[in-house]
């Protein structure tokens, strides 16, 4: 149990490190989306290609877009954390669960 706790902490630290590393290491980049980079490759391979359809609705600007993404992330986090809160409390107040090791026999 304690080992698992340490493992989780180590993994979280590693995640933060991997995510932050490029920011510190690569100075002259705006970190644009890789789909934008793919568009450039398409134009390079076939300069005449014109997209034959366009998005129906596009967010008017960067602010609205970041709002939508923030909503998406917070909504998802809310559900995940609700679930964990529910399970956590159940284990605390109705401790009839078997230890996870017994899950796999």
């Amino acid at each position: 149990m304690k080992n698992k706790k340490n493992l989780v902490i180590i993994l979280i630290i590693l995640c933060v490190f991997i995510g932050a590393f490029p920011l510190a290491y690569i100075k002259n980049s705006e970190f644009g989306g890789s789909d934008g980079a793919a568009e450039d490759v398409i134009t390079e391979i076939n300069p005449e290609y014109k997209p034959w359809a366009e998005s129906i609705i596009a967010p008017p600007g960067g602010e609205t877009e970041s709002l939508l993404f923030a909503l998406q992330a917070s909504f998802g986090t809310g559900i995940v954390c609700f679930g964990f809160g529910y399970y956590f409390a159940r284990k605390k107040f109705k401790p009839e669960e078997k230890e996870s090791e017994e899950l796999f026999r």
């Binding site: 390079e44 391979i45 997209p51 923030a70 159940r90």
Partner: protein, 253 residues
């Protein structure tokens, strides 16, 4: 509350989480209008059987494994969150994890196909990421190929008696990476290079998508392990009903 009402509400929760899954798109999907029509149709048709099986499986979860509904909602929400996180990568561009691998090893790949396509649909319509014309192609890569690879690796790791968490890590991370490889191949086939042909352009797209994705795939693998440890600790009752513990398919009770 009658059982009908209860079912209705629970279904709505599943729907909500499914929509939660939705907005993945930003950095990885093929852009609207960037795939010739014949490919759009081809990939769209490929999706159909997987979606059909997925709907049947979700039905089964709703009817026979009610207990796991919250877990299903969490898997959807998990993919939803991950797809909103555009993380900087070593190539100097950003991309986001898919989040579909974890759900695939717990509920099976076809279930994630359904959740994935709803995410993609949402993103295509509201966020202008991905697109309706390229929906089929993006579904094949993110909601079918990725989850199936994750599931396959997890099952294989179980057979080989690899440490469970190591198996989860590789399932989630390689599934994530494979999604972007499929995207690269799809684009490469649609845009063969005049000099080197299909292989040359696949390589070019791989350099854009797959290389960017490597560190993110590792992050996704770690996150999956963290969530799995949490679920094993607190939700073992639910996990016992899923294929994560039982193996096989959802059909057995």
């Amino acid at each position: 509350m009658t059982s009908k009402e209860e079912r209705f509400i629970k279904l709505s929760v599943v729907m909500a989480m499914v929509f939660g899954v939705t907005q993945n798109t930003y950095a990885m999907h093929i852009m609207e209008g960037y795939l010739p029509l014949k490919y759009c149709l081809f990939y769209g048709v490929i999706c159909l059987p997987f979606l059909a099986i997925g709907v049947v499986n979700i039905n089964k979860i709703v009817n026979e494994h009610r207990k796991t509904l919250l877990l299903l909602a969490m898997m959807g929400a998990y993919a939803f969150v991950l797809s909103a996180l555009k993380i900087p990568s070593v190539t100097g561009s950003s991309s986001h994890p898919t989040g579909t691998g974890l759900g695939a090893i717990i509920f099976g790949p076809c279930v994630m196909s359904v959740l994935g396509i709803i995410v993609l649909l949402f993103q295509a319509i509201l966020l202008a990421h991905g697109g309706l014309t390229t929906l089929g192609a993006n579904t094949v890569s993110m909601a079918i190929a990725g989850p199936f690879v994750s599931y396959g690796i997890f099952v294989l790791a179980k057979k080989l008696k690899v440490n469970r968490y190591v198996g989860v890590f590789f399932a989630a991370s390689i599934g994530d990476l494979f999604t972007y490889c499929v995207t690269s191949v799809q684009l490469g086939v649609a845009y063969p290079n005049q000099v080197g042909g299909i292989m040359a352009s696949v390589k070019q797209f791989m350099a854009v998508f797959a290389v960017t994705q490597i560190p993110l795939a590792i992050i996704e693998g770690f996150l999956a392990v963290i969530v799995v440890i949490g679920l094993e600790t607190y939700a073992s009752r639910e996990l016992k009903e899923t294929i994560y513990v039982k193996g096989g398919t959802l059909s057995e009770k």
